[in-house]
């Protein structure tokens, strides 16, 4: 199987099939990373498109210096940061609304954890991830979706390895506590 880097280089030379393969591999994880961050399906679709458009526009200048996934998620993260700066008010409103929802959901979850069944666990998982603080959630989602290493997540989020490790530890601790009956 061709590596992501090889496919991207082939696409840069004009190979459409290489792009199709790349897109099929990464569209889901990138989309979910964005969705976990912005929490709005429509906005996530819009930003997801923008990420891939940026990648296409920059294809000619692409050099396989780093892992392709790091490069791709770096574009996504930068776009989210830019979007966050432009829409602080809107995001805050959405975030506040979600935090309220999460609080309600979390209390409901706590009540029902005793009789949780597998299907409920999936719902619990989604709610628990959403309830994580943004930086912990971003680190956790990048780890889950992209299978990124600590170094890659640090690179994507312009942070450092130890900070990421610490964020992941907190996220996992919180999730394990909330999902203790499911694990």
């Amino acid at each position: 199987m061709d590596s992501d880097e090889t496919l991207m280089q082939a696409f840069a030379r004009g190979d459409q099939k290489a792009f199709d393969m790349l897109y099929a591999r990464h569209k889901g994880p990138v989309f979910r990373f964005i969705l976990r961050h912005v929490r709005e399906q429509e906005l996530a679709n819009e930003l997801h498109q923008e990420v891939w458009f940026k990648l296409i526009r920059a294809a000619e200048a692409y050099e396989a210096k780093a892992k392709f996934t790091t490069y791709l998620y770096h574009i996504a993260n930068n776009l989210l940061v830019d979007h966050g700066r432009r829409n602080t008010t809107h995001l805050q409103a959405v975030s506040d609304q979600y935090e309220e929802d999460d609080t309600v959901l979390a209390s409901q979850l706590n009540d029902t954890l005793g009789q949780a069944i597998i299907e409920d666990c999936l719902a619990l998982m989604r709610a628990a991830v959403q309830a994580l603080p943004v930086v912990q959630r971003d680190a956790f989602v990048l780890q889950q979706e992209g299978g990124h290493s600590l170094e890659a997540i640090a690179d994507i989020t312009d942070s450092n390895r130890e900070t990421i490790k610490s964020r992941l530890r907190f996220a996992i601790k919180t999730l394990r506590e909330k999902l203790r009956d499911c694990l």
Partner: protein, 296 residues
């Protein structure tokens, strides 16, 4: 489900499984289509890289052809018009006989050619070797004599003759400041070359005929400043005394090659290449884009 023991605490396989079951959202089909269309458009248009190549290749070929045509024409023109005149003016009888000898040499069979070559080499090298050894012996003797002679008093130092002094002003400066610079000037007497109106290089030759040190100096108002010195004594040590002098490179070789860059007030480099050979120093320097060679 329980967490595996060998998993680090920032990973959790059980959580990962649950997370992946719980999160399977995909972008909308419309969004997929828009992205794939954009990629297709990119693939259909000729890339800038190939575009530049498509122009660059014919352009470079055309330029090369013009250049070659010019060179051929120039060569033909020069050979037909100028070469006979040049040969008439510059070919000495020795050179002409060399050409004749070469032609004869080419005609001879291979073993004969080898013998001819060996004989020619011996004939040419022997006088040079003799001359060289004689010169080296006399030089070593002279240096030995100098070393055995007590150091002259500063006031007794002989000023260099006019012929040794390239710059009139330098001689004056030298005379004025010899008390201060006596160490350098006594070595300067025979071996220095002027790099430009103000800078000059000096070297001291040791008994082996190699340069012990090479110094770069500058004539300043009423004094001579030593700007940098490269010493052979301790494995090519050098010392830069002025921030405008950069020692560019030092190459160890059977001969010694040293190189310095002097920077003028406008911070323009004046590269100076100093080549020392046994019993001989060659200074090569560049000034205003012109190359100068001086042999001593």
């Amino acid at each position: 489900m329980t967490q595996q023991n060998n998993t680090p605490d920032w990973q959790d396989d059980d959580l990962t499984k649950l997370y992946r079951h719980a999160h399977q959202e995909q972008p909308e089909a419309e969004s997929d289509q828009a992205i794939l269309n954009a990629a297709q458009k990119y693939c259909e248009k000729p890339s800038r890289k190939s575009l530049s190549t498509s122009w660059a290749v014919p352009l470079a070929t055309a330029a090369s052809l013009v250049l070659v045509a010019n060179l051929v024409w120039f060569n033909y023109d020069w050979q037909s018009k100028e070469l006979p005149k040049f040969e008439e003016e510059h070919f000495t009888s020795t050179a002409k006989s060399d050409v004749q000898e070469l032609a004869e040499h080419k005609k001879a069979p291979a073993p004969q050619r080898r013998e001819n070559l060996a004989a020619t080499r011996q004939r040419e090298e022997q006088p040079l070797l003799k001359e060289f050894s004689k010169e080296k012996r006399s030089f070593a003797k002279q240096r030995l004599h100098q070393n055995n002679t007590p150091e002259p008093m500063t006031s007794q130092l002989a000023a260099p003759s006019k012929s040794q002094v390239v710059s009139e002003g330098l001689a004056d400066t030298y005379g004025m400041d010899r008390a201060v610079n006596n160490f350098y000037v006594q070595h300067l007497a025979n071996q220095y070359q002027v790099v430009d109106g103000r800078h000059f290089i000096s070297a001291d030759i040791n008994r082996d005929g190699l340069a012990d040190w090479v110094g770069l100096m500058m004539q300043k108002e009423g004094s001579i400043d030593l700007l940098a010195i490269i010493s052979q004594r301790q494995t090519h040590q050098y010392m830069v005394l002025d921030k405008n002098v950069v020692i560019q490179e030092q190459l160890k070789h059977s001969d010694v090659r040293l190189s310095m860059d002097i920077y003028n007030s406008k911070k323009t480099a004046l590269p100076v290449l100093i080549l020392t050979l046994p019993n001989k120093i060659t200074f090569r320097y560049y000034w205003n884009g012109r190359q100068f060679d001086k042999d001593e």
